[in-house]
Amino acid sequence: MADTQSPGAFVEFERVQKSYDGENLVVKDLNLIMPKGEFLTMLGPSGSGKTTCLMMLAGFETATHGDIRLDGVSINNIPPHKRGIGMVFQNYALFPHMTVAENLSFPLEVRKIGKSEREQKVKRVLDMVQMGEFGGRRPAQLSGGQQQRIALARALVFEAELVLMDEPLGALDKQLREHMQFEIKRIADNLGITVVYVTHDQTEALTMSDRVAVFDDGRIQQLAPPDKLYEAPENSFVAQFIGENNTLEGVVKEIKGDTALVRLDDGELIDCKPVNVTQPGERTRVSIRPERVEYNKSRLHADAHTLKAEVLEFIYMGDIFRTRLRVAGNEDFIIKTRNAPDQVRLQPGTQIEIGWLPEDCRALDA
């Protein structure tokens, strides 16, 4: 199938489908092309088929339909142990009856690598994850974070070019998780390996990845770099799933070039950027990020569209203020403002006017 290979593709899913029971498709028409060295995250709610995709790539599940290629070679019929893909499992799956060093030299032993070379490689990878002194310990004698490092080291020790990680930080507390995110990213960049990373934590996805594939309902809803994903969601699922988001519902009145006039359900008219609305009369969900909403008239654009709003709640969060408003019938409209000396603290009950730039206001599917 090398003829259909896309140039520069290292991992390639082509029209892949997967069903476990012959009735429901868990993965529906997955197409994905990854260049070498990319850090790609599969992000999505639980049950959206992320693990299934990873398992098909690793060879533990077979695709019901479609082709998976690694470096141009179709791997559908290659058993897992011949794929040479490193894998980090959510619960680490460190072998409890072996020491850390034995765990790490296991993949080298099955590859019939000599003893001295093995020891050397184990030592190098242990140093890389800063666990040099722990070679003689059993996994049970390590903390969660340390086990995580060893699991990572084990996936790297045999120099796999592709490493898969299935929610590897899921069991760690917040602080450790943030530290390990940084650590994994650093190691992956240093080694130049290709990583497919699965998580349901959007912060993790945004901070670590070169590109994020947002999964829902067995499909990739959007595949984009983190900033594009956040700032330019292509449909209302992505807009809702990534970061905080305000939605207003309405009907498209007219579309002129790159602005769409939307009549909100309470009758107000606003200008939006049409993303996946194409003609007047379509229902739409308008999405605005909370930090792009402005209520300070002096900072509002002259031609910015304004809407009336009532302050319902003011929450002091230290670095930012989070204010809940009623806007166009929506009582969960959030705005976020930086805690700056000149910032007004809005009192509940106050009537204000809010506005935003038309390009920050995206008209998405309903």
Binding site: G59, K82, M87, F89, N91, V110
Partner: protein
Amino acid sequence: MSDQTTSGRVLAADGTPLKTSLARALRRQKLRALALIAPLLLFVLITFIAPIADMLFRSVENQIVVETLPQTVSALADWDPESGDTPGEDVYRALAADLKIAAKAKTHTRLGTRLNYELTGASSLFRKSGRQVKKMDLEGDASIKDAFIKIDKDWGKPDIWRTIQTYSPRYTNGYFLNAVDMQKGPDGPEARPENQQIYLMLFGRTLFMSLMITGSCILLGYPVAWILANLPARSANMLMILVLLPFWTSLLVRTSAWKVMLQQQGVINDVLVWLGLVGDDARLVMINNQFGTIVAMTHILLPFMILPMYSVMQTIQPTYLRAAKSLGATNWTAFWRVYFPQSVPGIGAGSILVFILSIGYYITPEIVGGNTGTFISNRIAYHISSSLNWGLAAALGAILLAVVLLLYYAYDKIVGIDNVKLGG
């Protein structure tokens, strides 16, 4: 609530040392726990521990000689068994006096039975003498020694006297010597004649066959446990019922079924003959020998191997195998290097269970064991119920118990008892 005093002891709020306070608080809990187990404890103590202790005591107890023949024993103390002569007239007189009392109380036959274990013929000798000693006149001058020799010429030989003297102490190691195919000789313990040696061979056979049974249970049980642990819950439950099914049938029925299966005119031989694999005149002997015992006992004890294995295997997550394969291991390497070592505690638990159960097994070898497939326990049962040599039975039982404890200890040293898991 606690406070550090200057002496460093922690005090509770009311000033009593915290340790005392805590102990007081825990005492009620402990008492309640004790009260809850007390009925079972009493029951076990009365019906189990006490009889076993009494039984084991019999393996060294030997009061009967000195109690039945007190005067004889003290008169015989000076006699030198090495001389080759019978003892003097005074000993025979003492014996006559003792026997008169014993015959009246009818205890002389029991003594005869006891001494018969050590010297064949002693039983009839005492029965005969007890009957006739009543007529003996101890006041006259007639030689009592001659009178005894007239009753039975065995009284004129040193053998019986040597036996009485050897077994006159209140405690004896004679049963234990007997249990390891030895006896008390003039120069201390010595081996029994070849044709009387049986127990060491039986112990050896029991151990060997128990090992064979344990081994076959491991071989047959491991795959079943593996399937049980890896099947979806519903099918696993179904299979589990099949595994447990034998428990619902009487042990006797199962063993007898094997008799029907394995005998020369039995099902298996018939099928083999029908298939032409063996000739009708050369039917296999599969019952009343070691083979039959091993087959039947493996079948009976298999669930005891499968259950602990299964409960250990259930806790081994399938991701370990996946991890091993993703690291480049073939199916076999993944199993052998990753799965198997984690399942060893289950094998250990099952093996201990099966081995200890089979080493003391009685019914099955009794029914299908024939002459070559019986266990030491069958011999113990024989001494308890037929030969009534309880002392020897107790000694054999004590040795069996010691062997099991020793093996358990060795197992703990080698494998480590912490590695044995019966569940989760």
